[in-house]
């Protein structure tokens, strides 16, 4: 049996729909004026090989039902992993009981009927991997072998992993919406340790796709991990200074996730955002365009409808550097006197329009400054925009990498940092839900020795 087989069949998908309907029927029976139910079920396998031998084999099999009930403007929510009729009824009862104690909230409720998806577009998200355990182990071993054999300074390993998951999600509400999506997610990752002068460094690489055929090859993932580790050996601290900072693509997406935190409806109606009241204002330089592409075939973030059943659409959040839209679900939209943007559950394939330069070109453009390849810690304040995070990377002079750097922080304020974006690279990282090239900022404070 392969790990993803069971999610496959139509019978079990019909069961998921049946569970949502049972929950909605029970809610109506209890007198709820509206309700919705979301059911998910997933199955998968993760294998890790370390130093050539199997380290872990984990079979995943999860399921959840989440029910929201509305009695007029009062709401309650409950969830369970037990889909027996008795447990479903108990869950609806628990949600209904909570709704007795919550306060009236005129904005609470389902999405407006006319915004619900009527035509559910096929997005090519389901690509099961007929991968048996032995095959997965072999692939992980090949990946790690290539990493370990690249250079004798690679002295240890955290291992290579192969992971495959397949899941189905059904959503239904008492406006009559019912939708079901099945999708897959596969990944290959490798993390190795290098040593030089008695000091160790670790780095990693991964490939993640919906279609196993699109994964990078095991040797490529392994060798990339090893190269990333090797280039960090001999890292040192630099002195405190101000300098341009280039965020390498895999971490540049974090800047966009901070932007998202600030334009999310829940941050805005709570006035907990450094981008409050910035709609139609210049938040970025005029060359910046940030848009959402929810219908990209095979993409990680693609979805035909959001977590409330609302149709997702291509749209611009930032055009010409000007903030054109927020990220709203029905509740936060009502709080702000606006319309939902189909973002219940988040954005879908958020993309910053790539520029003309690749990473090498961006390094030349920067000339002298810091290339950041790793960020650690949580020093981001969405209320004020204050930003201060631990970093590691490379000092760059004359457009060329000089030496690795560690134990430093980079700091600024996101509002100013966004205004000071000098370039966006074309080296787009497409592995995640935020698609972003490397980003060059004119200036930040670097704290070090």
């Amino acid at each position: 049996m392969t790990a993803t087989e069971q999610v496959n069949d139509q019978t079990s998908n019909q069961q998921l729909i049946d569970v949502t309907q049972q929950a909605l029927d029970e809610a109506k029976r209890r007198g709820a004026s509206a309700a919705d139910a979301a059911v998910s079920r997933s199955q998968g396998l993760t294998v890790t090989v370390r130093l050539g031998a199997v380290e872990t084999v984990e079979y995943n099999r999860d399921k959840t039902l989440v029910v929201n009930v509305y009695f007029g403007h009062r709401s309650g929510s409950a969830s369970t992993s037990d889909f027996t009729p008795h447990a479903v009824a108990d869950t609806v009862r628990a949600a209904s009981s909570i709704a007795k104690y919550t306060a009236e909230d005129e904005c609470a409720g389902l999405a407006d009927r006319d915004r619900l998806a009527t035509n559910i577009i096929e997005l090519d998200l389901d690509h099961p991997w007929e991968l048996a355990l032995d095959g997965a182990i072999e692939m992980a071993r090949e990946c790690e072998d290539h990493a370990r054999q690249l250079d004798e300074r690679i002295t240890n390993s955290e291992g290579a992993s192969i992971s495959t998951h397949r899941g189905s999600e059904a959503y239904a509400n008492t406006h009559g919406f019912a939708g079901l999506v099945t999708g897959t997610r596969h990944s290959m990752s490798c993390a190795v340790i290098g040593e030089q002068d008695g000091l160790m460094q670790r780095d990693y690489w991964y490939s993640a796709t919906r279609d196993p055929a699109d994964l990078e090859s095991p040797p490529l993932v392994g060798e990339t991990a090893a190269r990333r580790t090797l280039r960090r050996l001999g890292a040192r601290q630099i002195s405190t200074r101000e300098a341009p900072v280039l965020f390498e693509a895999p971490i540049a997406s974090s800047l966009l996730s901070h932007f998202l935190s600030a334009v999310r409806g829940s941050s805005l109606y709570r006035k907990a955002s450094f981008l409050l009241d910035q709609l139609d204002q210049s938040v970025f330089p005029s060359f910046v365009r940030i848009h959402e592409q929810p219908h990209l075939p095979k993409a990680v973030g693609s979805a035909a409808f959001d977590n409330e059943g609302v149709t997702t659409e291509n749209r611009d959040l930032v055009t010409g550097g000007v903030l054109r839209g927020y990220v709203l679900d029905s509740y936060s939209a009502r709080k702000l006197g606006m319309q939902t943007t189909g973002n219940a559950g988040g954005v879908r394939n958020l993309t910053i329009e790539p520029g003309a330069l690749d990473l090498t070109g961006l390094l030349r453009e920067m000339d002298t400054g810091l290339l950041v390849t790793e960020l650690i810690g949580f020093g981001v304040n969405v209320v004020t925009g204050d930003y201060s995070r631990g970093a590691a990377g490379f000092w760059v002079e004359g457009g060329e990498i000089q030496y690795p750097v560690e134990e430093i922080t980079i700091a600024g304020n996101l509002k100013t940092m966004f205004q000071h974006i000098a370039r966006v690279g074309n080296d787009v990282d497409e592995r995640g839900n935020i698609r972003c090239g490397s980003i060059l900022l004119e200036k930040m404070t670097i704290a070090g020795a």
Partner: protein, 481 residues
């Protein structure tokens, strides 16, 4: 313990028609000649949360999760399979899947396991905290907290308060016949305040909890969180840009102990040291801190958020001295890593749920008190930073570099506290930051009970603590050069 075992059996096994005797057959499936350890972890978790914003409790949620994880260990290999249905066919299927790590197939003859239960002191009351307060009272508590925060100052604009409770029952059965159970309550109350003045907005937050019932939140305590969150937000309204560079830093008592959790705690977990991936690997007996530093991991503290009567492998929690007078004493271990390193388990085997593999994890990690008066420590600093509240932290255990982010800090000028500065991240090197601890205060405090630790995708509740301490040089990630 016997009473706990009975309750756990009734909660976890009986509903699916299972009896302890049925587990013999399951172990018969999972044990092969090359599987040297196996366990079953049964878990039931019921939790709820209530949230107040804009003066009203607008939402609440409730969830029930249960299941069983079957783990097989063969040398350095682990296999895990689980099911959210606690019935015999599901257990048998999971057992067959978990033993996939061993090459030998086929069931071994099921033999009768002789079950025994060890002794472990109960560190918290075995009760359901969700039932300890009526839903009406939970809502009222949040409303009182909100009003108290608003009452502090007209500049308080938004108050978000939440109350959460967890009722957890676990049963661990091992192939060596050890049987352990635990009933773990966990509650938490949090308050976040946003204050606004002249167009500037700042936030503050506070909270607490532990392995207790909701009645722990007396008005004195709960309203105290509200006042504290408001005070922090108002303080931050006056805060100036923080300095950048390496300087002397005095850390206040309690929650700043997150320094220990990140700088040395993770690096002393057994798995990383067995694999040689930690910057502390092979360094037992060496000096890793100044003589003023003694650091412990203590899972045995009464009612604390990080405490465990037994860990998730059924071993009683312990108080383990990690660093004694500056010398690295030992690592924190779970069963597998202890065996592979030929050390004893330290009661640090923890897992987020039945669906996750156990790992060595911290419980309550803190530094013992020294003898300095905290005021004297501040007075000893000519120029530096006094940091008293922190957000999260993170560590790269291989390079040893760690960060933790201050959310409330003050400049120290000529031995006196100066103006407040905005939050900044502090970065250091784990293996040597504690060698620069030159003074340790006599004011040991534990955090109020809000910590959650993440490792390899698994979250578990933890505690931290420390007395006031002076570090002679750590990098402060401010903006002011």
């Amino acid at each position: 313990m016997t009473e706990l075992i009975e309750t756990a059996k009734n909660t976890l096994l009986s509903p699916g028609g299972l009896d302890i005797r049925d587990l013999d057959a399951v172990f018969g499936k999972v044990i092969t000649p090359s599987v040297d350890y196996a366990d079953l972890y049964f878990q039931y978790v019921r939790q709820e949360s209530w949230m107040l914003e804009e003066g009203r409790v607008k939402s609440g949620s409730h969830s029930i999760e249960q299941g069983v994880g079957v783990r097989a260990v063969s040398g350095e290999k682990s296999g895990l399979a689980y099911s959210d249905e606690i019935i015999l066919p599901a257990l048998s299927e999971a057992a067959t899947a978990a033993r996939a790590i061993s090459r030998q197939g086929g069931d071994s003859a099921a033999h009768a396991i002789s079950w025994s239960t060890g002794r472990a002191p109960q560190l918290y009351r075995a009760e359901d905290p969700l039932a300890s307060l009526s839903d009406t009272e939970k809502v009222k508590l949040l409303e009182r907290v909100e009003q108290e925060a608003r009452r502090q100052d007209p500049r308080v604009k938004e108050v978000i308060a939440s109350l959460a409770g967890v009722h957890e029952v676990i049963l661990v059965a091992r192939n060596d016949g050890a049987l352990a159970a635990d009933i773990r309550p966990l509650v938490r109350l949090n308050v976040t305040v946003i204050a606004e003045h002249d167009g500037r907005r700042e936030q503050g937050s506070s909270g607490g909890g532990g392995r207790v019932s909701y009645d722990y939140f007396s008005d004195a305590l709960a309203l105290g969180y509200a006042r504290e969150a408001a005070r922090q937000a108002l303080t931050n309204l006056e805060a100036q840009d923080p300095p950048a560079g390496t300087m002397t830093v005095v850390l206040g008592p309690g929650w700043p102990g997150i320094l220990l959790h990140e700088a040395i705690g993770h690096g002393l977990e057994g798995d990383f040291n067995r694999k040689g991936t930690s910057a502390f690997a092979g360094r037992i007996g060496e000096r890793v801190a100044s003589a003023a530093c003694t650091v412990v991991d203590d899972g045995t503290m009464l009612d604390r958020r990080g405490s465990l009567s037994v860990d998730d492998e059924g071993n009683p929690a312990q108080k383990t001295v990690l660093i004694e007078n500056g010398i690295l004493a030992t690592y924190m271990q779970d069963t597998m890593n202890a065996r592979l390193m030929d050390m004893a388990p330290t009661g640090n085997g923890r897992r987020e749920s039945f669906a996750h593999l156990p790992m060595p994890r911290m419980t309550n990690t803190y530094m013992m008190a020294g003898d300095m008066d905290p005021q004297e420590i501040i007075a000893s600093v000519e120029n530096g930073l006094f940091a008293v509240n922190f957000g999260g932290g993170q560590v790269d255990i291989t390079s040893g570099k760690f960060v933790f982010s201050a959310s409330e800090a003050y400049l120290i000028e000529n031995g006196r506290l100066g103006h407040a500065v905005k939050g900044a991240t502090l970065i250091g090197n784990g293996p040597d930051v504690l060698t620069r601890v030159s003074m340790v205060g006599n004011d040991l405090e534990l955090d109020p009970g809000v910590g959650t630790c993440g490792k390899e995708g698994q979250s578990v509740p933890v505690g931290v603590g420390q007395p006031t301490m002076r570090i002679d040089g750590i990098t402060v990630g401010g903006v002011q050069v």
